[in-house]
Homo-oligomer: 442 residues x 2
């Protein structure tokens, strides 16, 4: 004898709930949901698979639809989901049907939308969290005049009416029409004549940053967002896209300096939070720089005999680090704005090694002059030669690492300047002492 | 007996041309210009002051207007201006009247517009170079229906019709109306009811970057651009603003890594250009890091006696540099997005010194462990203590320098991470050796 749906939800038996839902017809489920508390009803509703959820939703009376959608927005429902096992939670957070998602999100503020989108299966940082669900979708069959009238009737609540998504009978995205074309075309023009097909679009679960960058590249004022079955769920507007790109750039800047990004105003985060954002990288880097101690230990006898060599260690590792940081930053930015791809590795090595050689040759003049003045000719020669080799090496390594990261599908921004610097330090010391041995015949 | 205008232009006597123009009435000047070669006519035309230029322009027959405006776009005219003395050139490049500027720029491609805008007195990098002159300005007195009809009649060539500038009889900017409001309002609504007054706008000579950032902050799709008398000359569209911000960010990123920004695609610029962008900073930094050599010379006897101290030099200067770079980057970005002001200096010093102490305390554990394993207790203690002091110092200096730059009205982005690193290197060495002397009782 099966328990009622209400009892199964109350006893938190999610497996039982799923089994019950699988067995029953849509109208039976709708009936059971309508009779439950509207927050509790959210659980079985979100456990339904996508097609059945839509079927059940359409079987509900409008007043019950509102109650259940309202329940999904309720803090109590959010807490309920948060308290579940990760596995159950993941099952609860599969993508909702486009129509349901739109109804849930309609009329919410940006903040409310972001909290609720999570419960509709759009992961944190996805387009689904940022898009506006209020759009004016148009069918392809009408004329420009009819379409314009429809915009007049329904456009008041939409966040934008400049890009109008065109959908088929199944709400699937066909293309877009710009309001401009609707206004400038004669009223009897069929939409089919002015629709732009093959428009850029995003899936609701895509990272918002990718969608925003796609908008920047394609110069559209709003990007249609669809679910996994290509059904329209919303639009990402250009002003939201600009904010997303700005936040992503701030994160990249933090990563580039070897620090985790943090959320919030610089003066508002606590000293602890700042320290926590920076500590992991500093730790990693100091452990990596133990290599420099090892290298110097190998050459300790050389240092004891020619202490003057020690004087130039900070200058050499510093310069190598600077040259490496310059080329790493160039490469990361060129990758970010699409000027470089992972496959350009060989070409970049060839470019940067020559740039490094040029720079090294120039700096070696400084090294020779300063070295001769402070310690004399032989060591000045060692310093000058080392600068040439270290600069060429640092510039090459600096540009290579972000490209390698890209090839290995790691975010190139993670290859921060400090990371390049630290790795170039140890190898730079080896170059310095090998040249010293050769020139000074040690 | 005064020479003719044509003769004065031919003999390149610009003072004479100005004197002649001052003496004559607008219709006389118009007559003289109409009879000259259309490229040569550009010279006296651009030497007219703004009000008189508009008067003369309106006296000209349409066919002569076209000929003279065409002459301003001519390569021969550009070459002529380029070949002038800087003083004369500057006089030639004062801002043109809004109406003339719009007519000159209309119908040109973005590239042509940028070349020509310079000749209309809009400096390099100004909004005037990027704006679109093709707008649909509307008078305030009409109804929404009439306005919409006007957009239909004239909007086909405009780059955007989503933001419609409203101007008074003297072409002065009154406000804007969004196409959305025009479409959604009943046809008999007076524009005065839906106009937005006090809209953000830019002067044509303002830096494009400032205008683009203003658009980002105010979330407008197009920004009206006016001349020095508040007369409408064009619109800056959001897609151009996004490109401007992206280019500015790329420049900031380059500066932060201690490199001059360069124009163009990373793979398209030559090896020489890349080296030239990076060389000045590297040179400055290597000269600054000669300080580290001087510091080490002071402590050379200590190094001779305790060579093991040399082993930790790269680790210490590297870690100090990393900590300094982190806080410098945080401060520069916080300044760029407006989270910090120059007056926050004391608060920032207080924050960052504590963050640095926390980080240093954590890293000193690594220093103590590694030091004890590799060289023994005494030197390990020196390294551990030095890490605490150096980290606190580096974090403080790193955040202080961009704020000081801001106070001195220098671009904080110029205080690059490598610059902080290099300056922290020398002071870090002093800290290290002072602690060594105290602990090892040298």
């Amino acid at each position: 004898m099966p328990e009622s749906l209400e009892e199964l939800v109350e006893s938190n038996d999610l497996l039982g709930v799923r089994a019950w839902l699988d067995d029953q017809a849509a109208h039976v489920i709708a009936d059971a949901l309508a009779r439950m508390d509207h927050v509790a009803a959210g659980v079985p509703f979100r456990l339904l698979d996508k097609d059945k959820a839509l079927e059940v939703f359409e079987e509900l009376e409008p007043v019950d639809q509102q109650a259940i959608l309202g329940g999904l927005r309720d803090q109590a429902f959010r807490d309920l989901v948060e308290s579940m096992d990760p596995d159950d939670r993941a099952r609860m957070l599969t993508e909702a049907p486009a129509k349901v998602a739109q109804r849930v999100l309609a009329g919410l503020s940006v903040r409310e939308r972001q909290m609720t989108a999570h419960l509709l299966g759009y992961p944190s940082g996805s387009v689904g969290q940022t898009m506006t669900p209020e759009t004016v979708p148009l069918p392809l069959q009408v004329s420009a005049g009819t379409a314009l009238q429809r915009v007049r009737d329904r456009g008041h609540h939409a966040e934008t009416v400049y890009v109008l998504p065109i959908v088929d009978a199944g709400r699937r995205l066909v293309g877009t029409v710009e309001l401009r074309d609707l206004v400038l075309s004669p009223a009897d023009t069929p939409l089919a004549d002015i629709v732009v097909r093959d428009v850029p679009f995003a899936h609701a679960t895509d990272p918002a940053e990718d969608a925003a960058k796609l908008m920047r590249e394609t110069n559209v004022l709003a990007l249609p967002v669809v679910d996994s079955e290509d059904r329209l769920v919303g639009l990402l507007t250009i002003d939201d896209a600009i904010e997303i790109i700005e936040a992503a750039d701030t994160e990249d800047v933090a990563r580039q300096s070897g620090s985790a990004p943090w959320a919030g105003h610089y003066m508002a985060v606590s000293v602890w939070q700042l320290a926590r954002a920076r500590a992991p990288w500093l730790l990693l880097l100091i452990v990596a720089s133990v290599l420099t101690v090892n290298v110097l230990q190998v050459f300790e006898t050389t240092l004891e005999n020619v202490t003057a060599l020690a004087l130039f260690i900070p200058l050499l590792v510093g310069t190598g680090g600077n040259a490496g940081a310059q080329s790493a930053t160039s490469a990361v930015r060129a990758l970010a704005v699409g000027e470089l791809r992972g496959s350009d590795l060989a070409a970049v090595i060839w470019r940067e090694s020559r740039v490094g050689l040029l720079l090294g040759a120039m700096l070696s003049v400084v090294g020779l002059v300063v070295g001769s003045m402070l310690v004399g000719g032989d060591i000045a020669l060692v310093v000058g030669l080392s600068l040439i080799v270290i600069c060429a090496w640092a510039a090459t390594v600096g540009a290579t690492m972000p490209l390698l990261a890209k090839r290995l599908r790691i975010d190139p921004a993670v290859v921060s300047a400090p990371m390049v610097t630290t790795l170039v330090d140890a190898t730079g010391l080896i170059i310095y002492f090998l040249i010293a041995h050769a020139v000074l015949s040690l």
